[in-house]
């Protein structure tokens, strides 16, 4: 059994590579960056003080969670542009969870104190775990409209499969097991490009869009970007075409 471990770079080299990748990606993936920017502009508009609708007292916790979701989204963009695909999916998972929690706390304000007091005692922790179940919350999302539950759930499942949880999909998407008569080697790339990166870019844009759609629903400020899912599909198709033209086979 051998592993690629002995070829691992130092932490300085890893950080340099991440920074270099980000620099290059911001130039070469400007189309994707403009989609991410659209999400940022939309979020900024929705969260503009004085525009948000609702009883301010009931909005504090949802606002905190929405803010948290946005910081995970930014971190996901940051890691995605550096080519760190599994960590990107992990952050996208947290982005969806925070947004969905915010949506549910806004809908049922009695959940707010349970969330706030989670760490106060063992009983509070148990109460929080019992009430804050992401699967249940996803089921509470509206069936149709801007953020239909089936779409958000499918996105969430995808983030779980590809890095939001240590599953085989995530491990195998960025590496593989190479077996010969003499040895088996396991190679996992710290930085990805090609199909895994394209997959992460698409998921990041979709999660960002889902996040602002939930904000739009929550705060009654209709600034979620219209037509974005179609543009994501188009950009993804162009990316697939480029990868195929460069000699890689597209994913099934």
């Amino acid at each position: 059994m051998i592993d690629e471990g002995s070829r691992l770079p130092t932490i300085t080299q890893i950080l340099d590579r991440a920074e270099g990748n980000r620099h290059v990606s911001r130039q070469s993936l400007s189309d994707w960056c403009s989609l991410f920017q659209e999400v940022v502009v939309s979020h900024d508009g929705i969260m503009t003080p004085g525009v948000v609708q609702g009883n301010l007292q009931n909005l504090t916790i949802p606002m905190l969670l929405v803010n948290c979701a946005f910081s995970y989204f930014i971190a996901a963009v940051d890691t995605c542009l550096s080519g760190q695909v599994s960590p990107c999916f992990a952050l996208l998972r947290l982005c969806i969870e925070s947004s969905v929690y915010a949506h549910e706390v806004l809908r049922r304000p009695e959940l707010g104190p349970i969330w706030v007091m989670r760490s106060n005692s063992d009983a509070d922790l148990r109460a929080c775990r019992a009430r804050f179940n992401i699967t249940d919350f996803l089921n509470e999302l509206p069936e149709a409209g801007l953020a239909p539950r089936a779409v958000v759930r499918s996105l969430y499942d995808r983030t779980i499969s590809y890095g939001g949880h240590p599953n085989s999909g995530g491990v195998l998407s960025i590496g593989g097991v190479h077996e010969t008569d003499e040895y088996v080697s396991v190679g996992i790339e710290l930085f990805s490009e090609g199909l895994p990166l394209l997959h992460a870019l698409k998921a990041t844009a979709e999660v960002g869009h889902a996040m602002v759609c939930l904000e739009d629903l929550m705060f009654n400020v209709h600034l979620a970007p219209v037509g974005m899912p179609e543009r994501i599909v188009t950009l993804n198709a162009a990316g697939l075409h480029n990868i195929t033209a460069a000699g890689n086979k597209p994913a099934e």
Partner: protein, 260 residues
């Protein structure tokens, strides 16, 4: 809170700020970086060709998970140095989970198939969810001088509290910056360049890396996890801040109950 046209959020400026924070942190936090480097060297040594002990067919899945765990660890450093604190904790959580999964599969090879076939059928998924309960798996870790399982659990819970799950502390860590003064331009409010949350993130990143290396050492019988590491992490955290009990800085070995 003020929001005018001129200080509206722009992705490019946020990413620029994150890069700037990273560059600045790599200069000012060199002692922390040397601790992170120690983990990288340790991981590289343990995973070196020819050193791993075990049957190839039984080691494949754990090695894949260990490499994934390392992937999350380096991403946590990258994100942490940019001052994105909740995201850093989120990645640490995944690092611990991957390493614990790897260790559990190594100890009970029958779990490997369950892990691989998770998505095949609804029954497989149920079976996976039954067997791969992270709390149970952490509880089942053997105690050792290097890494008492209580420490792993405490560390894991800390990552969950501060960003591994959308909990109060994670939200407040962001809000402390957000609400501290008028909204800043460039998105700097998302980035923590100093302060206790960042110090806690640095400390737990180092301890998470140590936890990963100790589990690798146990799994592959290559004794290269850095000795006296938790003590040095603790010393560095204390020297960086006068009151180590605040914000769970003292968590981990030699810990006392957390106070805020």
């Amino acid at each position: 809170m003020v929001n005018s046209y001129w200080d509206s959020l722009v992705l490019g400026r946020i990413l620029d700020s994150a890069d700037e924070c990273r560059r600045s942190s790599r200069q000012s936090l060199q002692r922390w970086l040397s601790l992170f480097e120690e983990i990288v060297v340790s991981h590289r040594g343990i995973m070196a060709s020819g050193l791993l002990q075990g049957y190839p067919e039984e080691v494949g899945v754990p090695v894949g998970l260990v490499r994934c765990s390392f992937d999350y660890f380096t991403a946590a450093i990258d994100v942490g140095l940019s001052g994105q604190v909740p995201a850093c904790f989120g990645l640490q959580r995944l690092c611990i989970e991957s390493a614990v999964y790897a260790h559990s599969i190594m100890r009970r090879p029958e779990l490997g198939d369950i892990w691989l076939m998770r998505n095949d059928t609804p029954e497989n998924r149920k079976s996976f969810q039954r067997e791969f309960q992270i709390t149970d798996l952490i509880d089942a870790l053997p105690d050792s001088d290097l890494l008492p399982h209580g420490d792993t659990k405490e560390l894991y819970n800390l990552t969950i509290d501060w960003g591994g799950h959308p909990n109060r502390d994670a939200a407040l860590a962001s809000a402390m910056r957000w609400g501290s003064k008028e909204r800043q331009s460039g998105g700097a409010e998302f980035l923590e360049l100093e302060g206790l949350p960042l110090l806690l993130a640095l400390k737990t990143t180092a301890l998470t890396g140590y936890c990963m290396a100790c589990l690798e050492e146990k799994m592959f019988s290559v004794a290269l996890a850095p000795r006296t590491f938790p003590e040095r992490v603790h010393a560095l955290a204390v020297s960086s801040h006068g009151d180590p009990k605040t914000y769970g800085i003292a968590a981990g070995p030699q810990s006392e109950p957390r106070t805020r």
